[in-house]
């Protein structure tokens, strides 16, 4: 790999994150250091197994899919406006990274891990405390809506800016799912950008894994080929939003 392919960002400490845009074909920068992990590509498909088209995503609806592991929920949202671009973000340990932008024709489509980095609240088949709050719906977590809120302890994240922290106890953004929208409008998840909480998550929810996935080993299986993507109201019985 040639040196000029790398974009170097000095982090708060001495960590250097080398970003190689050629690594991915999607619209997000991904670091090949600790803060980007490429996983097997998975196509987002609906409950019947048909590919989901980017242009068919309802605006402001939170859809849930599990990626990169069988048990790790992510959300994908088609925002009402184009996202910001080249957003500088920082993990809780001080590493800096860049979230480039949303994807899709109008750069409105974003995807993030739905495991809240604060205390790991996440959607389950029973309930969902973390989701996008549409612009017309007020939230207690922040002055304006059109953001992602975790109602467990009211952490607010900027949906259009790489899930940057807006308010609340969380000390880092949600990890971003790196997406790729192909020429035929199909959507692919290719990796995770930012500091994810997967290991803490695997440590913390063993009884839940047994209940919903059959066990910890099943929960840790990597997703391959496709990821079932459904509206949050189909994924969980209860939606809790403040």
């Amino acid at each position: 790999m040639e040196r000029r392919n790398f974009l170097r960002i000095m982090a708060a400490g001495a960590t250097v994150i080398a970003v190689n845009p050629s690594l991915i074909r999607g619209n997000l920068y991904a670091a090949d250091g600790r803060l980007y992990t490429a996983y097997e590509k998975a196509q987002l498909v609906d409950a019947a197994g048909n590919p989901i088209k980017a242009s068919a995503l309802d605006s402001e609806m939170t859809y849930i899919f599990n990626y990169p592991y069988a048990s790790t929920p992510c959300m994908i949202i088609n925002l009402p406006e184009p996202t910001q671009q080249e957003v500088q973000l920082k993990s809780e340990s001080g590493e800096e990274y860049v979230w480039k932008s949303g994807v899709g024709k109008n750069r409105t489509i974003v995807a993030y891990s739905a495991i809240c980095p604060h205390q790991l609240t996440h959607p389950t088949p029973n309930d969902n405390f973390i989701q996008y709050v549409p612009k017309t719906k007020p939230t207690m977590a922040y002055d304006n809506s059109g953001i992602i809120v975790c109602s467990s302890h009211l952490s607010a994240y900027d949906a259009k800016a790489g899930a940057k922290n807006l308010r609340g106890a969380a000390t880092q953004p949600l990890a971003a799912v790196v997406l790729d929208v192909a020429a035929d409008d199909t959507i692919w998840a290719v990796g995770i950008l930012g500091s994810d909480k997967f290991q803490d998550y695997f440590k913390s929810f063993k009884p839940e894994f047994k209940e919903f996935y059959g066990g910890i080993a099943q929960a840790k299986q990597l997703v391959s080929i496709s990821a079932k993507t459904v509206k949050m109201t189909e994924y969980s019985k209860d939606i809790i939003q403040y």
Binding site: S93, H118, Q119, L120, T121, D127, F129, M140, A141, S151, S152, H153, L154, R167, G168, A169, T171, D200, K203, S204, D238, I240, Q241, Y242
Partner: protein, 453 residues
């Protein structure tokens, strides 16, 4: 007596500090000396420090958070977390356990799991003295030296307003009508009192000052009333409040009292207790009103844990006695920067809640790592803790809760902290209340994950 504390102190040259407080017999000095030498004055059975050592006293919401996040911030720091308890039981959510809404396991957790996951040492020990000159903590397991000490021992009760120093009365009150604001046996006592209640007045008191968990007594009153209602018990909760009105989420609690528990709760604001007869089970108020009760949870005022006095770091705050004498921005003891005091012993008027202790603990842990790295702490290194607090108002048929969340901002004019960016949800009767009930449980689960995983 196996050990004379005064003799123990002589060995460490601390006699001058403690002699005045000593009331021990001098007779069996020789036996006392040898026991002291053998056990109490030798190092506690934990590995030698492998780097700069931080000793944290108190494994509550505050100490557990600080231990974990110091190790996350710098794994090279040697962390020892101590607690006199062998099992963790949380005060938060304990009202729901006392009223049978949640099982005891929900609030009961394992210190060793936290130590394994957090890569620090847990020592089950009671701290009985601290020498800040030699930087030594004295425990019933032996001594431990520190580079930085964190005191997070939580509250003690201040019964003096009711007992005027009558220790016998205090002991009877603690035993017969425990406050149940320090989790453990008190919680279990309250649970059995409620389960076995046959009828009559059940008194719940709300103290003045900045007491632990402002909404706690009101939440408890609602849940006890809910229990009476559900189980058709002919009982009434009398809420004797020293304050002029409900101290937090007043609209939500008032409407719950009025709408759900009209026949079950009598709220009595501005009620200062003059005397309590624990045998006749009678309270006399400041204005001479006599109140008889069948049972009670008598919550006195709170004060800083006695350990602060022992360590010589206590000072009366505007609200409570003997709280930590610290710089409110750095949490360092005035005149001794190696000692930090956190959690419910802080003198700032923050809400004495687990959520506050947890968010504050992360900030303090990061600052301790900086301090050990040679950085000075100041107002610039301060950020606000957050308070997110749900309170249950009913359990039948659904768990419903109201909530408040806030940050704190310092007001230079009156040199005090006040709520900032605060928000409330005091509607319990619609879907908000049900969401609140679910939120309450998820809030707690998140906190346990943060403390133990």
């Amino acid at each position: 007596m196996a050990l004379s504390r005064r003799d123990a102190m002589r060995f460490t040259g601390l006699a001058a500090i403690t002699a005045a407080a000593s009331g021990y017999a001098k007779s069996d000095k020789t036996a006392a000396k040898s026991t002291a030498k053998g056990v109490l004055l030798s190092p506690a059975p934990i590995p030698a420090a492998k780097g700069q050592r931080v000793v944290i006293v108190g494994a509550g919401a505050s100490g557990l958070t600080i231990a974990k996040y110091i190790k996350k911030g710098n794994p090279k720091v040697d962390v020892v977390l101590m607690d006199k308890r062998s099992v963790f039981m949380s005060g938060f959510l304990s009202n729901l356990v006392a009223t049978g809404v949640l099982p005891l396991e929900f609030i009961t957790h394992d210190f060793l799991e936290a130590a394994r996951n957090g890569n620090y040492n847990f020592l089950q020990a009671t701290v009985h003295d601290i020498d800040r000159t030699s930087k030594t903590v004295f425990t019933n397991e032996g001594t431990v030296k520190y580079d930085v000490l964190v005191l997070a021992p939580g509250i003690d009760y201040d019964y003096s307003h009711w007992t005027k120093g009558d220790v016998e009365l205090e002991t009877v009150l603690r035993t017969k009508f425990p406050a149940a604001f320090i989790a453990g046996s008190e919680t279990l006592s309250l649970k059995s009192k409620i389960e076995n209640f046959e009828g009559g007045n059940f008194v719940v008191t709300v103290p003045g000052g900045n007491y632990r968990c402002l909404p706690g007594p009101y939440e408890r009153s609602c849940l006890i009333a809910d229990y009476f209602k559900k189980n058709k018990i002919n009982g009434k909760v009398l809420v004797l409040d020293e304050n002029a009105d409900i101290t937090i989420k007043a609209a939500g609690f008032h409407s719950a009292f009025d709408n759900m528990y009209k026949d079950y709760i009598t709220y009595m604001p501005s009620t200062t207790i003059d005397s309590i007869d624990p045998y006749k089970q009678k309270i006399v108020t400041e204005f001479g009103q006599e109140i008889e009760f069948a049972d009670a949870a008598l919550y006195p005022r709170v004060r800083g844990n006695k350990l602060l006095e022992i360590a010589g770091v206590a000072k009366d705050s505007p609200a409570n006695k003997a709280e930590a004498n610290i710089d409110p921005f750095t949490y360092q003891v005035i005149g001794d920067k190696n000692v930090f005091c956190t959690g419910d012993v802080r003198p700032m008027g923050f809400s004495k809640s687990a959520n506050t202790a947890n968010t504050e603990g992360k900030i303090v842990a990061a600052n301790i790592v900086k301090y050990l790295g040679g950085q000075e702490l100041s107002r610039k290194t301060w950020t606000s803790p957050l308070t997110v607090c749900f309170s249950a108002v009913s359990a039948t048929p659904d768990l419903r809760a109201i909530s408040v969340h806030a940050e704190y901002a310092y007001n230079d004019a009156n040199k005090a902290f006040a709520f900032a960016n605060a928000g409330m949800n005091e509607k319990w009767d619609g879907s908000e209340g049900i969401d609140g009930g679910k939120g309450l449980k998820e809030w707690g689960k998140g906190l346990y994950r943060d403390l133990f995983n």
